[in-house]
Symmetry: D2
Subunit: 442 residues, 4 copies
């Protein structure tokens, strides 16, 4: 019998990832994500879209591509808690009468998103720690392998079947000195490499960068240089990053304290991810820093801080210039907090390269510039493997097939080119699929 | 009486830096450098050019600009040991009947260059440690202030006169965690800022980058990620960087040992800078690593290493693709050492952006690519202050005038723009000069 | 007696140009423009700002810089009808009790802008044809020299005084085959070059481009290639460019007719500039094409055209993605006109490189992309002289001084660098000023 | 029976194009090119390489990929006379006992190259005019369809079989106003589109550019602007372009004469291509211009011209900075001709983006810059279709399959992405192959 891989979503864009692995009369879904850029455009018009509308707008994967095997699905496995991997769960998961398997942190975030959307699911949640396995059936076992990425408890998904195994990387990097959590479990990957990897499905997000992705420690040192080695005395300091990036937030908190300032987190989404991390004892921020849960509470508190700003490090939502985020509202003078000349505003992130997000960020930066703030951008290291990391992974796993995913044609073509260099032949050993296709592996 | 600043060289290019500070009947020359790009072009045709020929070709500063005050010169002060700051000493210094003052390491390198060119100077060498002063006359005192840069014992030059003081930065950065040496002496700079800085002459090399320059520790971590976190087992490892970059070489040596390999330095220019650093007890490499002094000795030794390459980390000259350097000759199969597929070649440097050098590097990279080596580029952090560092320095020193140097018009215009933002008026407080001009400050 | 040049606006930005030439007890103002990017930001909050508010926000030049010579001003001369050269007239001109001199087309547009803002001026308007002179006083004569630019009747301003002459270029290019109007009057410029040019004040907008700016004929051919050489049959065609660019609009009209389609202009600002050009008999569009004067009228008419789109070429406002423009509203489905897959949308312009405008354009392009339109961008040739054109102009005019204007520090530094190459010395022959400064020339 | 397409060369690089179409017991080879970048690297070491050595070095296609069907080959068809399409003929063609079919100009150039390499072929040459057909066998007919490209008599190859037809584009563009020759034969293409196109094999060189490629007329106008609209009086003028670009050379000749100067062509390769074009009566240059056939003759003649340079327009080989070309040798002072300050040097070409060529060009430009010449670069329009041209072609031909060729993975992926947008499914309707693969179409 053969294994069939269905490329449902994320094979024409960076977003709405969803893959389905079919084996005999069973199937497993890997990830169920949102296409953020489309989702944002759509939201502008209306906020209560149905699943069908979101599918129509290409904001979530189209589950009709696997409708004919819907009944076969015995499990939904989520690699990690980013929206482009889990954000479609509230709309699609209910189609499948099966459990959702993920690390505890990922499950915590899924639940929190369901709550945000006032949705309920009847699917059972099965928390599975990294570096452990769960037998879904007599034929299919799911193993989660710990990887480092830009949020806690990310995992590669190892789908084991009698006919061979599939490794779906999700987002990952090799980080020699991660700030929180353990390194990517290379030891286990080397074992897996000896156990017949039929197909590797790697994240292509940064496969076009001809380098190694550096450690989160590099980002921490960059932040340290800006915060501890510059003339900050007497000036306000505002930091912003991806709200889910707990390791970065930890560095910010610790460096803020090293600077002798009070650290305050401000914003709903920061609150959400920190709460989840604290609940699972991944970090403990709330006893060392103030957390203002939303703009509603921020106004009064920021007004007080405004007067003695030089005693604080403020960590705000709004790293992508999101119109409703705290930093954006501060910049637009909506929250009783001033940006004064020479105040530090540090964007510890990249700007996600989609038109609407870039437009938002430019507007925020422009106003900051007019207010004469000192702006620091790209104080950041990526959470995604680059080409040379992928080369290592392929060397380690020695898969029979490589099926690049998580990226548009150009990104995935870069990974295909790497595979070609390593001896994989086009359409024989390395495969470029589209959304809605499938491939039979034997 | 007024102070006159003569902009002799480095005001229309990145290279051949030379400034002269005139006060009453005395004058001091700051730096005496080479314009490497022109020097290289010129060398192609002939190797034994006279001073006049080098001047004609714009390869060294034109001392005729200050011929009328030649007799006034009572000291030549060198900021640090890079060729664009000291490389013209063998040809021009003899015009001035006065001592040469610099930190011990800088003097050591000057002497070594004189030896390379078989030149002798009658000028006295006066070693002056960083963070100490030397009274050149009753009116003029020279102070060297320790700064971090990409080689040991770099210094800002503080020229003190009764009418006010001049701070000439040379190349510098603020580095919170330098790998060797101490941080830039900010404490002393803050004192100097209170003592009437008449003019600041900052290095413009990276004034157009709207950021802070990060610490050398970031470069070390990047190197660590490449060396310790990748699948190097069984493969050759070749590293290259600027031969004068002792801190980087130290990281390379230590990381190579951490990897459990023997470390070998290969190349004449590596030997020269390491010898100088060892002589002054700045580092001690030779008891922990093998040093092959030149291509002549390299051939036989590399042939041996070739067979057990997986036990070595080779650090070679040739980071800019210089045709005679070891790496270039290895790549061109001239030194009995093979580049095998998947060998690691790490360029821990930028490529200097001049046409001939870029052309050289491209050729080396191309052959490496054809040999299927794994190439890592830009594993590097700059040694030059960026715009936000300059902003800090101006805040600290509060100079009356800012005279950007070390850069072409566009680079210096970026620094002028920064000064404008900080309230300095064009031609009143901030001045853009050309080679061969002067300005009277009062 | 000496001539004094006051750099009032446009010396730190591309926009709000204003220069004042003072000679003895008289003075002349050259241009009075808007800083569009700031003006747009400011408008977001309120639409009825006072002159003082606009000055405060840096949206218009600050006339206080020349308040002390306000009474001396005997004329305001406008180089051409672009907003960054005339847009501040409604707010500032009334301070000066003197006539406004410009070509007839420029005056027509100024009047139309005054009407838009419901403002009246008591200043007399003196229309002066290109290539003719007007004696403002016994000492000062104004000559307008015809130049080609991206709108009709642009002129260099030649200010003649007994002590020497000033040539202020305004925006210009050398165009060998302009589509409308005559070539830049090189013959006259060569005469002027023999008559003692004390200072040249060139537009720096594209001085950093190391090339010649090509003819408008190139843009026409590009448009022709897109319209006549592609598979347009059965598809809608929408063109957009700067509304004031009458030559480009003429090409669009003629090519649309060559294609056998009806041509329709849609939008208030297109109507305004076409009306002015027709009034002065520069072109005659209205007998060959339909002109829909505004969105109000567009809705019904576009609804009809929507059904037989393949018979029309639509020329719409909105080339910069302006939120209120016709194309933007069409794209956002507000005007009963659909963009169908494979419809042609041609941006015959650059995107002005300021954050808010770029953000607007990106949003429009994104929606067009989602609608599967065929998008053609940068089908355009600039109206601004590049470096090699400036070199020619300096050769021709042989000015004693060069004072770059119309640009931020970096743009003007590029022109200074060119002047340096040609032998002008910094601060002796070429001068970089800031807003609010002045320089005495003798 | 099915048709099999063999992707022999040009599917992993821009160069060494070779495709083989197999049908039953017959096969046809399309193009047989050189990989110039590799060929240049290889030549550095030795000039008399064997076919096997060139294959080993990836400088020419590897014919072993189709060795098993070698006897089936009944024709070699060449699309046009560029080296990346015909340059391997001297080494490989003899393997096939069959005629070589091409347009007369292409055959002329092939013969000239054979002569250069002192090679002889026993294959018969069959000249076939564009827009005509040749029946190779009862099953296979070859039709050449006229296309515009950057040299004369380029053709698309239409391979007709009983099971369906293959259109192999070679290099092409749609040019509404070509300077010589006729437009791409769209009328015939539209007919072909109705006759069952089984597969389209398009040139991917510029498929990643989201635009239409403009007409050669645009390049001519650019040249005209530089030559006729600038201050050239009294200065030397040197032009350079691809020697095979007869249309560009024609514009240069005519514009030089319009300027009132003598036009002189200098260089072996210019002589070769002009001779071929004259022989076939495509153009007649030699009665209107002097042609200096090589460096040997150039020295004396250039010495004369050197003194009255202002009366000449010199068109030289060396547009890519080739070390042996005339311009390069002039620049290096080897040919008794000076470059004086303000002389015009116009590169009417792109720089081919490969490391060695870019390095060569940079060196030439640098010396020119030092000599203070006025350099004009990229006065050029491409001869390759861009994405929107390909979209038109696919619309016109409606092929069942699209097989991008002539490009590395990334270039071809861009064409695949376009095909996806137009409804072709990956691996069903659009196929990305590697060198040495094949695909069966039915």
């Amino acid at each position: 019998m053969a294994i069939k891989i269905h490329s449902v979503g994320g094979f024409e864009e960076i977003g709405r990832n969803m893959t389905c692995v079919e084996y005999e009369d069973e199937a497993v879904i890997l990830d169920m994500g949102l296409y953020l850029d489309k989702y944002i455009s759509v939201q502008d018009n209306s906020k209560t879209l149905t699943a069908n509308q979101l599918i129509q707008e290409d904001a979530i994967p189209n589950p009709d591509y696997i409708r004919h095997i819907e009944k076969k699905v015995i499990g939904i496995v989520l690699s990690h808690a980013h929206l482009d991997h889990i954000g479609a769960v509230p709309w699609i998961a209910k189609r499948y009468n099966c459990p959702i398997i993920a690390t505890p942190y990922t499950i915590e975030i899924v639940k929190s998103i369901l709550k945000d959307h006032k949705k309920k699911l009847s699917n059972e949640f099965i928390p599975l720690n990294s570096n452990s396995s769960y037998p879904l059936s007599s034929n299919i076992t799911i193993e989660l392998v710990n990887v480092t990425h830009s949020l806690p408890q990310a995992a590669m998904i190892h789908v084991k079947t009698p006919e061979g195994n599939i490794v779906y990387t999700g987002d990952y990097k090799f980080d020699y000195n991660p700030i929180i959590g353990k390194r990517t479990n290379k030891k286990r990957l080397k074992q897996i490499g000896k156990e017949n990897v039929l197909a590797l499905m790697p994240d292509s997000t940064r496969a076009d960068e001809e380098r190694k992705t550096y450690s989160e420690t590099v980002a921490r040192q960059m932040l340290k240089d800006v915060l501890l080695d510059m003339e900050t005395q007497g000036h306000g300091i505002i930091l912003t990053t991806f709200s889910s990036h707990i390791a970065r937030l930890k560095s910010m908190l610790e460096l803020g304290q090293e600077l002798g300032r009070e650290v305050v987190f401000v914003g709903r989404s920061l609150k959400k991810y920190i709460d989840a991390a604290e609940k699972l004892k991944i970090v403990k921020f709330s006893n060392r820093a103030e957390i203002i849960p939303s703009a509603r509470f921020a106004k009064k508190r920021l007004q007080e801080i405004n007067k003695i700003r030089e005693k604080y490090v403020l960590i705000m939502t709004g790293n992508q210039g999101e119109p409703d985020a705290i930093l954006t509202r501060v910049v637009k003078d909506e929250l009783s907090f001033n940006i004064f000349p020479e105040d530090f505003v540090v964007f510890s992130c990249i700007t996600i390269p989609t038109p609407i997000i870039q437009a938002n960020r430019r507007v925020v930066e422009r106003i900051l510039h007019n207010k004469k703030a000192r702006i620091f951008k790209d104080v950041h290291v990526s959470g995604h493997a680059s080409r040379e990391d992928h080369r290592d992974l392929i060397k380690i796993l020695k898969p029979k097939h490589v099926i690049p995913c998580h990226g548009d044609m150009n990104k995935r073509a870069s990974l295909a080119k790497l595979a070609n260099e390593m001896g994989y032949k086009m359409n024989k050993g390395v495969h470029l699929l589209q959304n809605g296709q499938n491939i039979v592996l034997s």
